[in-house]
Amino acid sequence: MPKAVRLTLLAPLLLGAVLLPAIPLEARTLPAAPSLNDAASLVSVAKDPEKTIALARAELGRLVGSEGFLAVEKLPDGVAFLNLVLDNRAVLGDLLLSGPWHDAPLQTLPALHHIWKGDPKCFDNRHERTTAVATALSFSRKGWPPEKAFDRYKFFRDSRLQGRLHPSFDTLETWEKRYVTAASGNGGYAETGGWDDASLYWLRDNVKLPMAGYIGACWQAPYRLENVFGDSIHGSRYYAPFDTVTHAQRVRDVGGVCGSLSHYGANAARANGIPAITMGEPGHCAYAVRQGRGNWTAAYSLSWERGPHFALWEASWNLLVLSEIALDDKEAHDRCQVHLWEARQLREKTPALADDAYQLALVAQPLNYMAWKETAEAFRDKLKPDAATWTRFHDGALKSLAAHPEAAFKVVNVLYAAMPKDLSEADRAKAYLHYHEAVAPNAGPLAWKFDSALDAQAKLIGKDTAKLLAFFERVLALQSKSAAWFAPTISWGQDEFGKDPKTSAAYFAALARVFANSSAGGSSDGLRNALRAALLAAATADNTDAFQALGKTTKPFVGETKTKVEAFSGDLLSSGGLLKLSSTCGHDAPESHWAVIEGLDKGRCHTDSEVRPNVTARLGRLGEVSGIVVVNNPGQNIVREFPMVVSVSENGKDWTQVARIAEPVGVVRVGLDAAQGKRVQYVRVGRDDDRKEFFHLQNLLVYGRKLQ
């Protein structure tokens, strides 16, 4: 795009509070968009406040359709309400520039109408207006009854006016308030007895904490599998007898497991005006509290695999982070949206001009994943690009989104379905590899299911094993220097080729070539060398899933013989976790690291010679730790491990020392009391004197009660 054109796009949208003349009711079918005839008109409309507001009305009409307008008109004073909305730039701006609507868009205006009927002055000032629109948008979800929207709005309006919310609520924009007004259970509307408005009142008045305090607020409720009557959390009677108090209060008093506790923490924050979400994780429910714009902090989270129960874009932590960046840049975001409105008006009848509008949207905000995705979908469904255009767009997407590997793949994956027929096989393969080249240096905000990218690309390559192996080898070479994606790539290759006798030899040979190990011709050595690097990479990336997947493949080297130790009560919490060393060296055997935490007698880890070396186990399960067993390597070098310090941590940052053992002993046993062992996810063993020396262990075993 010419620079001059881009500069003209810098003109602000100027959505203000100016009232325009009411549209005559009888004329209202769907508001018409301003004339969009050529590329120049796309720019001029976006610069003209009057034309932009007309475009906004047309976008609203596109979202709800004539039936949607008609349904609102039939509501009490519906015509006056609709006129008010369509004439009010600020309300239109809040409705259309605060992130996408949810899966029941036709509920949005009825919900806003209910709010307006209950409080006709709700649009009169910024505070109430943004709360009203945010609430209406929260009710644009299936199962959220619009007639209940006023109650939710009233809670936040009155709480704010009474000074009962966190002061930061006053600074939130509409899109930010959506994370507050969406308070619920698992994203669904909660009827009486669940995470309802009554619970919000209780949480507002009984869990008032500084913003950072909500990260640990879930632990106000005890983790209990059975209620006081012995009924399981998985049955219907766990909470049923406690029907005289709000759900929030009974969760605090009766207890719960991860789902209840996380909802308690998240809804307590929301009830006090602070954005928060709950999130699904494998076998677990966590939550997150926003500590300021762009600063989402996970709470009670045990995995990077997080699926937010509420999201403005899509249910992904990485996209949550990216959406914050996009919406925070209001000027760029709003310009991007205006061009998307144009594109949507044009997509059916003049796809080429729509393409121009999409390109303007992407220039306005290159990090807007939703704009990239919509454009890619338009490529796939309508625009049908040629090879050169496709490649240019594909490369542009990767360039813009490379720092966000999950978002980048989701866009290019849509594009894969729009590959033009004249794109050669070689160019296709080049495109697949380009993705890996682009994202290899970037870990992204957080890990994601990288294997799904490899799965999708492999499916497109086809069933030819030779081609797949060649592709894998090239990907491996690209990702071999990636801190985040190397381990998952090997893990994927192991699943895809390593287990099948027909492909394993070729797989190991490919690994050997990538690791430039000419002597590793045999499959066993090839695997060992690959695993050494991959396990260390998985540990560095804190990727428990990859560490475990790779660790299980080390059984040929470490066997399955358990170390004979006297266990503490509970489960082996270290099992299923990850082991990280402060350093490694030539004496280390990373292929034996997995066995260290799984309690196998061939476990072995060995740091380099250093001052205060340590070994950290990230537990497979968050737990209340009853005891820790450290099995040292027998022999005279046992003195290297002492004086030994044992520390525990919930977050891997703040450590509490629970034992210091001065004299060498073969097996160290550390029993923890309830206060010491409460909520532990990391256990660290190290030496705390000033000697520069190696440090090695056979096993680091942690026992206790699971808290998930």
Partner: protein, 296 residues
């Protein structure tokens, strides 16, 4: 919680007014060393994030308020702001021994001169429930004095009589053995004085309803008679609180739920649990459970 209970039965025996002030908790502890009857009362608030606490903070720091509170009280206002400066960090360092983790703000924490927590009220609703603050703080201080008086008397005694005094002192706080078992030494002294637990206080302060419930759940099917015997031993303890007896009945219910021969007795268990204190949360839960059982 303790303070409300205390207010119900303790007489206001304050003879002099005008509480002293300390700028931080460390200073309050130092000041308390020179005052044999000192009670340290801390208001925890957040000046830049907790508007509901500000009227109370303003009143707390007024001369009028200090003038109306018993002179043996040392008042401290601990601000826990979100925005940290070098000044607030330095002050936080001086307040680090006031480590109470309030479930809701503002909160009032009461300490003895040794820095042990005596009582806690978290949240405006609980604080409001205390009634007029100047009066209730006087009552709390009197309760703390009475506790120390009981423990001082215990020092001169032995056997169950000593245990009686120690236990009565613990009862005045209604917080078990306190945060991080800070009063565990009192329990140890109590057990030593009364190894047979003739007073029943050792049972009260070692009772663990959750453990009994977990035993009923885990062993209820395989060895129910053994579990029932353990529950019966606890039932015979004479000084368990109403709440503890309700928890005991709930554990018995869990046991009978898993014991086919005793399933018919569940209703009686719930009725007992309810009648112990019909208005308590567990009493009401038992009543609701009876309705659930009636519905089948």
């Amino acid at each position: 919680m303790s303070l409300r209970t205390l207010a119900a039965f303790l007489a206001l025996t304050v003879s002099a007014f005008a509480a002293e002030r300390a700028p931080d908790f460390a200073s309050a502890l130092a000041l308390a060393q020179g005052k044999p009857d000192a009670t340290i009362v801390v208001l925890l608030h957040g000046s830049d994030w907790c508007p509901p606490g500000e009227p109370l903070a303003k009143r707390w720091t007024s001369g009028e308020f200090a003038g109306a509170v018993s002179s043996e009280v040392i008042l401290v206002a601990v601000d826990r702001p979100e925005k940290q400066t070098d000044e607030t960090k330095a002050l936080a360092k001086k307040n680090e021994k006031c480590a109470v983790a309030a479930q809701s703000y503002p909160a009032i924490a009461v300490y003895d001169r040794d820095g042990r927590l005596f009582g806690l009220r978290d949240g405006l609703a609980e604080i409001t429930g205390m009634g007029e603050l100047t009066v209730s703080l006087g009552r709390v201080s009197a309760a703390r004095r009475q506790r120390d008086q009981l423990w001082a008397e215990a020092e001169k005694m032995s056997g169950p009589a000593k245990a009686e005094k120690l236990g009565a002192g613990l009862d005045l706080m209604s917080q078990g053995l306190g945060p991080k078992d800070v009063y565990k030494p009192i329990l140890e002294a109590l057990k030593k004085a009364d190894p047979e637990d003739a007073t029943g206080y050792a049972a009260t302060y070692t009772f663990n309803g959750r453990r009994l419930l977990e035993t009923a759940v885990s062993k209820g099917k395989d060895s129910p008679a053994e579990v029932e015997a353990e529950l019966n031993v606890w039932s015979a303890k004479k000084r368990l609180s109403t709440r503890q007896r309700q928890e005991l009945e709930a554990a018995r219910f869990a046991l009978y739920e898993r014991w086919p021969q005793k399933k018919d007795e569940r209703k009686k268990v719930l009725e007992r649990m309810h009648s112990l204190d019909p208005k308590s949360d567990l009493g009401q839960a038992a009543e609701s459970y009876l309705k659930i059982l009636a519905k089948g």
